[in-house]
């Protein structure tokens, strides 16, 4: 059984068909990329998986469970974490606090215990902190631990957002353009991290990315979209050489 299975998903915004009868499936342990020109509907697919948008039609299954029966805030609990195309961090909080919010789905203490900072809260905080410190170590964020997001450079924010998603301990990680706006060196780091996330942590990754270098470097399979519909699916090399894909990209003037 596939980890994530999407069948015949369709979503319209007014007259715009953002996603058109789209089907694909992701296997546990793979890195899967969605590529396509701007406006192809890639982020919309993510937002449907996150339950921010309800599809007009289609089936969404995660690990056998029907995704369409859960609320947006319950998606994290199934083990799905994500980043956003336009970075959505908690700007007035520190890096550490941002990552700790990632642990929210593991919260067990009650409000009353928290008001008194009962021993259980302290013990739980230690566990959360331990998990978060592992992420900080992994992503080399030590120097920024107590810095507020509001003063951090763009590249670091991207890494913090990845860290926050990792801190939640997901089975499936959705990355919306993880390398956009990053320098060559930062993109290189991102590539190693995605590799390690899959190999060492055993997390399945679904990403949207324009940087074909990164895509062919880390992805097992690629899905090409145009106007919300599937153009091609296969290994990065297959998709890149597919004439329909080349045409779609040339048609929009993008690379």
């Amino acid at each position: 059984m596939s980890l994530l299975e999407i069948r015949n998903a369709t979503l319209k915004f007014g007259g715009v068909v953002a996603v058109n009868d789209l089907s694909f499936a992701i296997e546990e342990g793979e890195v899967y990329a969605i590529v396509g020109p701007n406006g192809a509907g890639k982020s919309t697919v993510f937002n449907m998986i996150s339950r921010f948008y309800a599809p007009f039609a289609g089936q969404f299954r995660f690990d056998g469970q029907d995704l369409l029966t859960v609320r947006p805030d319950q998606v994290a609990n199934l083990g799905i974490a994500r980043t956003f195309q336009n970075i959505e961090l908690f700007d007035q909080a520190t890096v550490l606090q941002n990552l700790l919010v990632g642990r929210h789905r593991h919260r067990q203490s009650t409000l009353l215990e928290e008001l008194f900072f009962a021993p259980r809260v302290r013990a739980e905080e230690r566990r959360h902190r331990h998990a978060v410190e592992e992420v900080i170590e992994f992503l080399d964020l030590q120097a920024y631990r107590d810095k507020r997001i509001a003063g951090l450079p763009y590249g670091i924010r991207k890494v913090v957002e990845l860290g926050r998603a990792l801190a939640s301990g997901p089975r499936l990680l959705l990355l919306d353009e993880p390398a956009s706006g990053l320098s060559v060196e930062e993109t290189q780091d991102m590539r190693w991290w995605i590799d390690d996330i899959r190999r060492q942590m055993g997390i399945t990754v679904l990403m949207v990315e324009h940087d074909m270098g990164l895509v062919s470097g880390v992805c097992d399979r690629v899905l090409a979209l145009a106007d919300g519909a599937r153009l091609a699916e296969g290994t990065p090399a297959e998709v890149q050489s597919d004439p329909r894909v080349i045409e779609a990209y040339l048609g929009t003037g993008a690379v």
């Binding site: 937002n47 996150s50 921010f52 609320r71 947006p72 805030d73 319950q74 998606v75 994290a76 609990n77 974490a81 994500r82 956003f84 195309q85 336009n86 970075i87 959505e88 961090l89 908690f90 700007d91 007035q92 909080a93 550490l96 606090q97 700790l100 919010v101 990632g102 642990r103 929210h104 789905r105 919260r107 203490s109 409000l111 928290e114 008001l115 008194f116 900072f117 809260v121 302290r122 739980e124 905080e125 230690r126 959360h128 902190r129 331990h130 410190e133 509001a150 003063g151 763009y154 924010r157 926050r164 939640s168």
Partner: protein
């Protein structure tokens, strides 16, 4: 410059970041405990007043500063705390039960009120909560049999296990009661900030989408913020009732709601210090004004609206020049001294915020 060496995760969970800070607050606590000996009755009453406002400020700060929801209805919750405490005691409950319960009831009431308001943001929420403040007046008049309506109520002296606290004849005892509630409210606030729920409040304030994606239930979290905020505000209201000695339907007016909100903005949104600094401004402004008018030969003639006018002016100046409030200004001054002579003007310049996903709120 103070350098902290952190040796364990517990370090960041402490109440105070370092031994020095713990000493400063310890010393402050000693001074506070000694105040009834050091001050005369008038000034002790003023300090008591500051602390009561600070408790109310903490209540609203939790909502506005922490979870990002502005409320112009908090006078209604002050009233609810005040009346429910008095009524519960009249029904025969002892103060030690009635007082905490009054806060809890106000909190639950606040949560119920919050449910329709939760979908609203920013200025719209503020406008909706004004209605709560305005309605409170009418409701108090309508519930005359319990509330005493327009003629109001005089709270009985407080009795704690046979120990009597009468606000006028025993200002020292009343001060200690207020101090105890202040400390408890501050500890609740502080504990929340270092626990998951406090972080969820900040998450809801800064980005509802990503909070949701991480498993935070937005309406529930906002309602909890409302509830806790109203609980603390309710306690402040009950204490205000005792402090004033009498109250009626006009005591907790919209002006009080506005004052409370202005107070936390001037003090510094999102910080415990801000609630206390703002409270000091609110409580001492009338005195400072009358002293100044005396100085300019005002010969005791009251100028109508002067207080409100000056207060509004201070607020506008803060919003324009120091949006982080008095506490934010203090942090900058402290950093300047700590880094001397290396402080740079641009250090506190706010970074342009990066584009946010507008389509998803």
């Amino acid at each position: 410059m103070r350098i902290q060496f952190k040796t364990s995760y517990d370090h960041d969970m402490r109440l105070f970041p370092d031994a020095w800070t713990a000493c400063v607050y310890g010393a402050l606590m000693v001074v506070m405990v000694l105040l009834p000996v050091l001050l005369d009755e008038f000034f002790l009453g003023e300090i008591t007043n500051v602390l009561i406002w600070a408790i109310g400020g903490l209540g609203l700060m939790l909502l506005t500063g922490q979870s990002g929801q502005a409320s112009l209805g908090h006078a209604a919750f002050l009233a609810m705390g005040c009346y429910s405490n008095t009524i519960l005691i009249e029904q025969g409950l002892p103060f030690v039960i009635a007082f905490p319960l009054a806060g809890v009831l106000t909190g639950l009431f606040g949560m119920v009120i919050a449910i329709p308001a939760i979908r609203l943001h920013g200025i719209y929420l503020a406008m909706a909560t004004i209605a709560v403040s305005v309605l409170a007046d009418d409701v108090i008049v309508l519930l005359e049999p319990w509330t005493g309506g327009v003629s109001g109520k005089f709270p009985e002296p407080i009795v704690i296990f046979g120990f009597e606290i009468e606000r006028w004849s025993q200002p020292g005892r009343f001060y200690y009661l207020v101090l105890a509630v202040t400390v408890i409210s501050t500890l609740f606030y502080r504990n929340l900030l270092r626990a998951p729920m406090g972080r969820a409040f900040a998450a809801v304030r800064d980005s509802e989408v990503s909070a949701t994606a991480l498993g935070v239930h937005i309406p529930r979290t906002k309602a909890i913020a409302f509830g806790l905020s109203c609980m603390i505000t309710g306690w402040a209201g009950a204490l205000m009732g005792y402090h004033a000695g009498t109250f009626n339907n006009e005591t907790f007016s919209l002006v009080i709601s506005i004052t409370l909100l202005m107070m936390i903005v001037i003090g510094g949104l999102g910080s415990i210090h801000g609630a206390f600094l703002g409270a000091a401004v609110v409580a001492f402004l009338p005195q400072a004004l009358s002293m100044t008018t005396d100085l300019f030969g005002g010969s005791g003639v009251a100028i109508p609206g002067l207080e409100t006018g000056v207060f509004g002016l201070i607020l506008i100046l803060f919003i324009l020049f120091e949006p982080t409030g008095i506490y934010g200004r203090w942090l900058k001054i402290r950093t300047w001294f700590e880094l001397f002579p290396f402080a740079r003007k641009a250090m506190f310049r706010r970074q342009k915020s990066y584009l946010k996903t507008e389509r998803l709120r």
